[in-house]
């Protein structure tokens, strides 16, 4: 079989692009090198829907961010992904930063951002009482929001699959040959053929381009470290609090997450490879102290986990979304760092347009259904509804994750629904089991058992995240 389009990379851009392509009668596959989608930068970023005041006017970033936000809000409604339009506040400390704030405001106007307002420090503290008394002015941006980025990626990939796309996991591309069609080879020897390739390979996009014979750009991996705090701290602020970018860096944000935790970060440091996702003492100390600059009373002792995401940047600073000049049929969607998440729905549409320009025929698919069942529907029910539901589906009454209140029924759903979770981290990202304050202390043995049962295997074969990440070393 020859696919019409092979989407290389199962991050948010690849997943949203695959979903967009399913609106048409096309054979599409997603090639993902890991055991699950959303394993790179898409699982480890700020989860912010930026309003669009930051990018330079005229850039792809500016255009796709501002046009992408309404498309994204529509997609998340259809896909039932947790999000909140909480608005953001950019905090300025002193006269010099106030000047930058005005520049941001003006840039926002040029980019077409609506309803922004510059307020003084006291007004800012009226809106957000936890803000530092040192804040002199702030830019209030009502259009900004927060979203769970891996939930979006999983939902978009799942919806693409529900509409006929295929997901090939552990498919680490090691060769791309173009004859009449592309032949793509994985490191384990599998091959697929496709007429078009979309390069959504994140941190590996330059290497993929090179494999296809198009050495046009270089990805610079930049690590950002984060701290995630207990839900008890989730109401410390309600807006996303940014700092004014200065010569010393972009500052860190303090934000509630779509799931109700508090997130602090990120740092920004160039690293050697996209795999450099380790946290560092220095990085975490920087996150804590810079977050305290905006919100002095932050309780960093309530940290429940810390993590690093590696962003795929490029020296030009803009997204690289274009048809390859050298390799017909190859479309790049590369260097998607911030505001990539905010732009992802617009990027998917733009990439589809570029494929069309390259000759892809896109007959409408009348069977396309862009909606996805709410994976957290049970959690949102009232006690009476839950009672009725459990009486028909008893597995929803058996609580496996105590901290987040996740039942066996919800975990089994995650093991079956597209794209099925295959490992502990996959279950965690789909259900939140293990994502609470005990970080899997109680639920892990039970989740291992459910994964083994569902896959007709043994707990000793269960991994944390595919490969050789075995949870156990045998039986006693």
């Amino acid at each position: 079989m020859i696919y019409d389009v092979a989407v290389a990379g199962g991050g948010v851009i690849g997943a949203m692009t695959a979903r967009e392509l399913m609106r048409y009668r096309l054979k599409v596959c997603i090639l993902e090198k890991e055991n699950d989608v959303a394993c790179g930068a898409s699982k480890a970023n700020s989860g912010i829907i930026h309003a669009g005041f930051d990018p330079e006017p005229g850039t792809l970033k500016a255009k796709l961010n501002v046009s992408g936000v309404p498309l994204l809000y529509k997609a998340v409604e259809e896909l039932n992904v947790p999000y909140r339009n909480n608005g953001s506040v950019v905090a300025a400390f002193g006269a010099q930063e106030e000047c930058t704030l005005t520049e941001l405001y003006e840039r926002g106007i040029k980019n077409g951002v609506k309803n922004m307002k510059i307020i003084d420090g006291n007004e800012a503290r009226n809106i957000e009482p936890a803000l530092s008394p040192e804040i002199t002015k702030a830019l209030l941006v009502p259009g900004a929001g927060i979203i769970c980025p891996y939930a979006l990626t999983i939902a978009a990939a799942g919806n693409a699959m529900d509409n006929g796309a295929e997901l090939l996991r552990n498919f680490e591309i090691c060769g791309i040959k173009k004859e009449e069609v592309f032949t793509v080879t994985a490191s384990d020897g599998r091959t697929i053929q496709a007429r078009y390739i979309v390069n959504c390979a994140g941190g590996y996009a330059d290497r993929l381009a090179e494999m296809a014979g198009d050495m046009g750009f270089e990805i610079i991996p930049r690590a950002g470290e984060y701290m995630l705090l207990d839900k008890k701290e989730g109401k410390t602020v309600s807006h996303t609090i940014f700092q004014v970018p200065t010569a010393n860096g972009k500052g860190v944000l303090v934000t509630p997450t779509a799931d109700g935790n508090l997130l602090l970060g990120p740092t920004a440091s160039q690293v050697k490879t996209p795999e450099s996702t380790e946290t560092t003492d220095a990085g975490l100390k920087t996150v804590a102290s810079l977050a305290r600059k905006s919100v002095p009373e932050i309780n960093t002792r309530a940290v429940i986990t810390s993590f690093t995401g590696v962003r795929a940047s490029e020296k030009g600073g803009d997204f690289i979304i274009r048809r390859s000049e050298k390799v017909p049929g190859l479309v790049h969607a590369a260097a998607i760092d911030s505001p990539g998440l905010s732009s992802c729905a617009a990027i998917a549409v733009y990439v589809t347009e570029l494929l069309r320009e390259s000759g892809l025929e896109t007959p409408e698919n009348p069977d396309f259904d862009g909606t996805r069942e709410d994976t957290h529907a049970f959690a949102k029910m009232s006690d009476e509804q839950k009672d009725k539901f459990i009486k028909r589906n008893p597995a929803y009454g058996r609580v496996i994750c105590r901290c987040e209140g996740i039942s066996e029924g919800e975990i089994v759903d995650a093991l079956r629904r597209n794209p099925p979770a295959l490992d502990i981290d996959g279950v965690k990202r789909r259900t939140r089991s293990g994502m609470g304050r005990c970080q899997g202390g109680f639920c892990t043995p039970y989740v291992m058992k459910l994964i083994a049962e569902e896959n007709g295997t043994d707990e000793t074969k269960v991994t944390k995240k595919g490969g050789k990440s075995y949870m156990l070393t045998g039986r006693l």
Binding site: D387, I390, Q439, L472, T473
Partner: protein
Amino acid sequence: MLEYDIAVIGGGPAGMAAAAAAYDSGVKNICIIDREEKTGGILKQCIHSGFGLHKLGKELTGPEYAEVYTEKINKRGIKVYSETMVTDVSPDKTVTARSTGGILKIKAKAVILAMGCRERSRGALNTAGTRPAGIYSAGTAQKLMNCDGFSVGKRAVILGSGDIGLIMARRMSLEGAKVEAVCEIMPYSGGLTRNIVQCLEDFGIPLFLSTTVAEIHGSERLEGVTVAKVDENRNIIDSTRRFIPCDTLLLSVGLIPENELTENAGVLMDRITGGALVDENRQTQREGIFACGNVLHVHDLVDYVSDEAEIAGRAAAEYVKGKLESGGTVKVRAGNGVRYVLPQRINRNSSEKVYLFLRVSKPFGKVRYTVSSGGRVLSVAVRPKAVPGEMEKLPLEIKNLGSDDDEITVSLEETE
């Protein structure tokens, strides 16, 4: 809506002892709500011995100790809702729970909170490095080994010298794993002396004090840890960093009382213990809501958990009968060298002798404890040593309290 005189949340050692004691005090309409299939709580995975020496006068394993109390509640016909997870306790003592049967609502006259504690995780330590498989809290590893029969690793480093960490060092050694080191960030161990001797020294496992895990390595399964000495402010001393290859890191870095339900019920909390503020009856400031066991403060011996639970159970029964009087209270304060004292307040009209339970802030040699009020010494007790890992118990005669005393202080002096 079901109705009970007393609803006990949790079927571990605290919940079972509290329910049995309440029953024996004459209140028969009691239920225990437990999230597990079988009562006994964490005792079920503690297959080592050493339980019951104080309370039962014999040395039992964890499951055996649990069995003693399971029999007590069965003999009394106390209703147990098993595999039932309480999701809410309201201030008016309505309990909401979830089980495979549906949503359960119970209206109780009194509620006894006995949910136990959880382990502090790697995330809470904010340890630098990667996030591979092979990092477990010691209790999770204990369950996987002792209840499920799995091997969690072949070569381990254990961070934290709390009792579970020490017990697991021995347990892994007995199963043929190599335990490379137990690292403790403090200059002293947090575990019982008998466990250091029996679990580490007898197996030749080194204990490194003032040492922590500075970094975690490995992309899929754990490949090793960097350990390092810390200074007196617990900052890592870079020149002492060294790599230890291992496939498993067990964490025994503290237990946290599980009080999310307690806080939602509007009960006032003690920041030091992580549990509710209680009087000598283990009653919280919300009348009719009691707490006992590790959800109240972390104990080192289950025997003391049972004792405390019996106090709470008897008092809850008296409350249901309308006989639990509370007059004015006297505050109890931790003084020099003492980290906390429980109960945090005592009813002035309490007729009996009250025991004060406390933990010291650091290890001491021979010490003299003084219980005083406004400069007046109420009682004195001398002990050969004091360590934070071992809870201390001091008697206090209520009749010694003066009518104008409103605060008692417990402090210690090192005498040698």
